[in-house]
């Protein structure tokens, strides 16, 4: 049977699934650990307070309790600050403050959920009981529930070393003096705080293994956790094996370092026994990083035809109580992406960040690109409304044309490749935009539920370096091993990487095993975030496999006694040009490579592990179209059609790419309509469980209609751009534009998200304009 030699691009079913659909997969909570102790944490119920007393004797005496520890026991033993502080590289961050707060409170708590006391017991129930019996005396301090409160005059300092609570300023000055333009439009935006909410709450376990420890954690970046934990505990990196086993979602929030990732191995060293901690959903909501959460004012200047000439963005960014990674990246990404897919001559952006007494606010699916896209896409609709232009028309007038790539933006980025208008055309055609407008006019004239049509174009940045690992080895039996530096939490790397290596080597992907998420098995890696796996990690697999193929050619030449340049390769076999009958395959080559006769210069034959270093980032793009209907009695919006056109360059596996789009759409739509993580003015957390925080159910979301264009990137040899975040980015503005469009007869120009039925109902019932007075487009 002929071997399929082309597997990149096939909709291969996931090899991960059999273990997952049968319950055999092991998440961190499932790893068998005999004799494991269990950690429960006493956490602050207050946003900001001094810890003036801890009474834990009763707890320590309870059944099964093996130890009770406070900051006084733990902090003096640590060898490096937590979190690991360093300034973000590049960018004009000024006065960045990175006060280390420690993985457990040192007489001061700064958010609801800050750990204060660690209780270790023989069962999880005993640990929880004992934690409940610990008595902590707090002296309340004023807190700050958002960055404006924290930056207000006279606000209580959250860190003594940071009076005024300003965490940083970031400034991107205009690339040149903006040209004068007659139309100036400005709008204030409040982008709400969101909880990423991976379904698997964060979980950490550790076990002593001789003089090493194995650390399992529900993370997107096992290698980074290992380095940080080694530094903080003061042990050699080699003594820690960090494993990200099955990981139940991440969405950016599991790319950070968390206190429990330090506390659990600390306790393991202390007890010489396995220790496990699993967050409850409430602990997870309180302490796992949140995202978005921005005050922004965007001003654009345009000419009367709707050509935007200049964009100016001012942001206030809420950092939460501490950075759970080296520093902020979201504000600068928002600022540099503010021009979107449009040819805007000049732009300027600035941000100030503040510490607040809330959970850390860090990258969440898209980080910066959803914010930037939402701002510019909303603004284009507002501008179109002011100028009496159709929203599609204003976009056409501003989109970067295909012949301008690579395109240098006013903010200093270089967009790699794009056919932006083609994506827009496809979305309009698939959704019958013209037909929808006719129906809208009919309803506006003749009654019927208000119908709104929203369009959003986007471009995003992904494939961040500086490097990623993806080693490829042909084993003595001719099978292939891939060692991946990026590890999945639902994306399907095992399937996709096997397709890449399989195609490059002409090997059935079933013969390729993919190792990941284990610092022993995969010596180097950065991790999975920012849609970097395919364009950086996948590219590493691609290039290493190519190297192995070249090595094999040399071996084949020696084996077949021919010159290397005469060796041909097809369907996984090597032969001398013109004599295909005498071909050798991977099994023979692998045996030969391992044998005495193999030429000396083939010492490391059939293995390559060179990191891929992308020369630049990649820029996926697309266009989304949403039709929404409003229930006039209740203000409830219902999505009638959702069309998502996404171009992520070359697609490795369309099944997986579509899955990423589906999930991204759900989260972006949900930001538009449902989710809102709330703190009160002081920082008391109001949405600490699924009772208060609206994760959408199946019947709250529409069916999605997907289309694709393919514009490969020249940045990596695979041609892939990344797809993990794209649909989240396009969908929020498409939905909001649709709802606001439905409300145009009521004179509504903008509403902040989430667009709850109440907010929509109020807009319809409290505005001056009357819905009955229809307006024509």
């Amino acid at each position: 049977m002929a071997i399929r030699t082309q597997t990149i691009g096939d909709p291969v079913r996931r090899r991960e699934d059999p273990r997952l659909v049968t319950g055999q997969a092991l998440y961190t909570a499932d790893i068998p650990l005999s004799g494991a102790l269990h950690l429960a944490l006493v956490r602050s119920p207050y946003p900001h307070a001094d810890v003036v007393g801890i009474e834990a004797d009763d707890a320590a005496a309870m059944p099964g309790v093996r130890g009770v520890f406070t900051g006084a026991d733990i902090l003096p033993t640590l060898k490096a600050p937590f979190p690991v502080a360093s300034s973000p590289s590049g960018g004009a961050f000024e006065g960045l403050q990175l006060p280390g707060s420690g993985p457990i409170a040192d007489r001061r708590v700064r958010m609801v959920g800050d750990p204060v006391v660690a209780v270790v017991a023989e069962t999880p129930q005993q640990a929880a009981d004992a934690a409940a019996a610990v008595w902590v005396d707090y002296r309340d301090r004023p807190g700050a529930g958002d960055c404006r409160a924290a930056l207000a005059d006279g606000a209580e300092a959250i860190y003594d070393a940071v009076p005024g609570n300003r965490a940083f300023r970031w400034d991107l000055p205009a690339n040149r003096e903006p040209d004068p333009a007659p139309v100036v439009v400005a709008q204030d935006f409040r982008i709400q705080r969101l909880i990423p909410m991976a379904m698997e709450p964060r979980t950490v376990a550790a076990r002593p293994d001789g003089d090493r420890i194995t650390l399992w954690t529900s993370t997107q970046s096992a290698h980074r956790v290992r380095s940080s934990v080694a530094k903080i505990l003061g042990v050699a990196r080699e003594r820690i094996r960090c494993v990200a086993p099955e990981v139940g979602g991440g969405f950016g929030a599991k790319a950070n370092l968390y206190p429990e990732e330090v506390l659990v191995p600390w306790l393991t060293l202390r007890f010489g026994a396995p220790v496990r901690w699993a967050a409850t959903r409430t602990e997870d909501f309180q302490t796992t990083s949140h995202g978005r959460n921005l005050f922004a004012r965007l001003e654009v200047r345009a000419d009367e035809s709707g050509r935007v000439r200049h964009a100016d963005l001012a942001m206030q960014f809420d950092c939460g109580a501490w950075f759970s990674r080296p520093g902020p990246t979201t504000p600068s990404l928002t600022g540099t992406m503010i021009v979107g897919p449009y040819d805007i001559a000049t732009a300027a952006a600035r941000a100030e960040g503040a510490f607040t007494t809330t959970a850390p606010n860090e990258p969440y699916r898209g980080s910066g690109r959803p914010e930037a896209t939402y701002l510019i896409e909303r603004m284009l609709d507002i501008l179109a409304g002011r100028l009496g232009l159709d929203p599609v028309e204003i976009r056409r007038r501003n989109l970067i044309p295909g012949h301008r790539f690579p395109y240098r933006t006013a903010t200093g980025l270089t967009y790699d490749s794009g056919e932006y208008e083609r994506a827009l055309d496809l979305a309009l055609e698939a959704g019958d935009y013209a037909g929808l407008r006719v129906e809208q006019a009919r309803r506006r004239a003749g009654g019927g539920k208000p119908l709104g049509i929203g369009v959003a174009c986007y471009v995003e940045i992904c494939g961040f370096g500086p490097w990623e690992a993806g080693g490829v080895t042909v084993e003595p039996d001719g099978s292939v091993t891939v060692r991946s530096g990026t590890s999945p939490h639902g994306q399907g790397h095992e399937t996709a990487w096997a397709q890449i290596a399989g195609e490059q080597l002409g090997v059935d992907p079933a013969r390729v095993s993919v190792l990941h998420g284990d610092t022993d098995e995969c010596p180097r890696g950065i991790g999975t975030f920012g849609s970097r796996s395919a364009p950086v990690g996948g590219a590493a697999v691609f290039t290493n496999a190519e190297t192995v193929r070249e090595q094999a050619k040399r071996l084949a030449a020696s084996l077949l006694e021919a010159a290397p340049e005469d060796i041909r390769f097809a369907e996984g076999r090597f032969f001398v040009a013109g004599s295909r009958a005498r071909a050798v395959g991977w099994t023979e080559l692998a045996a030969y490579a391992a044998s005495e006769e193999s030429p000396d210069d083939a010492g490391d034959a059939l293995t390559s592990d060179t990191d891929f270093r992308p020369p630049s980032e990649t820029f996926p793009f697309g266009a989304h179209l949403c039709a929404v209907e409003i229930e006039p009695e209740t203000g409830e919006p219902r999505i009638l059609r959702y069309i998502s056109v996404d171009d992520c360059g070359r697609v490795i596996n369309p099944l997986l790419a579509e899955g990423q789009v589906h999930g991204g759409l759900a989260q972006g739509i949900s930001q538009a309509l449902f989710e809102n993580a709330a703190y009160d003015a002081d920082g008391t957390f109001l949405t600490g469980s699924l009772l208060e925080y609206a994760i959408p159910r199946a019947d709250m979301l529409p069916a999605y209609e997907l289309r694709r264009t393919v514009t490969p990137t020249p940045i990596n040899p695979l041609g892939a751009k990344g797809i993990g975040e794209a649909a989240t980015i396009g969908s929020t503005p498409a939905v909001v534009n649709a709802v606001v469009d439905a409300l145009r007869p009521w004179g509504v120009e903008h509403l902040d998200t989430p667009l709850t039925p109440e907010k929509i109902w109020r807009a319809m019932n409290e505005s001056q304009a009357q819905g009955e007075e229809s307006e024509s487009d």
Binding site: G23, M199, E246
Partner: protein, 156 residues
């Protein structure tokens, strides 16, 4: 005082002594080593912990282990038969109905009940039937597709 609970799990009779407050999900996961049912929340809303009890989909975090006394419990580990995957498991695999997989055992076992009641369930009926199960990865599209496809196969 501990209680004795006799139940059948995946066809096997089990006889265990439990604390009265022990939840069924903890009995299954911690005492019986069946970690397929996942714990995703503390307010009985996510459905990750769903198992079948006497054929009905129940959230094992909302039941005490003692309430399962005398019952027949099927977890995701016990769903596949002699001849391989259950048709719903197969349909999830075929239709990319899962990503991180954390919600999947609960989704599949809930789907068993949905299709038991109505093998020809429509998209809308399936979506309604999944109201007790959350998924954060798939946007539900392929979960619905998987369940409808499994129903169509069963009733074909």
């Amino acid at each position: 005082m501990n209680h004795r609970v006799c139940l059948k799990v995946n066809g096997e009779a089990r006889d265990v002594e439990v604390e009265p407050r022990l939840l069924l999900c903890h009995l299954l996961r911690d005492e019986l080593g069946l970690t397929g049912a996942n714990i995703g929340c503390d307010t009985s809303q996510c459905g990750s912990c769903t198992v079948l009890m006497d054929g009905k989909a129940v959230k094992s975090c909302t039941l005490l282990a003692v309430q399962a006394d005398g019952c027949d419990v099927t977890t995701i580990e016990g769903l596949a038969g002699e001849n391989g995957l259950h048709p719903i498991q197969q349909a999830f695999w075929d239709n990319h109905g899962l990503q991180c997989g954390f919600c999947t055992p609960g989704m599949i076992l809930t789907a068993v009940e949905i299709l038991d009641r109505n093998p020809c369930a429509s998209d809308a009926e399936v979506r309604h039937g999944l109201e007790g199960n959350l998924c954060r990865c798939t946007g539900y599209e392929n979960i619905v597709k998987s369940i409808v496809a499994a129903g169509a196969r069963e009733s074909a």
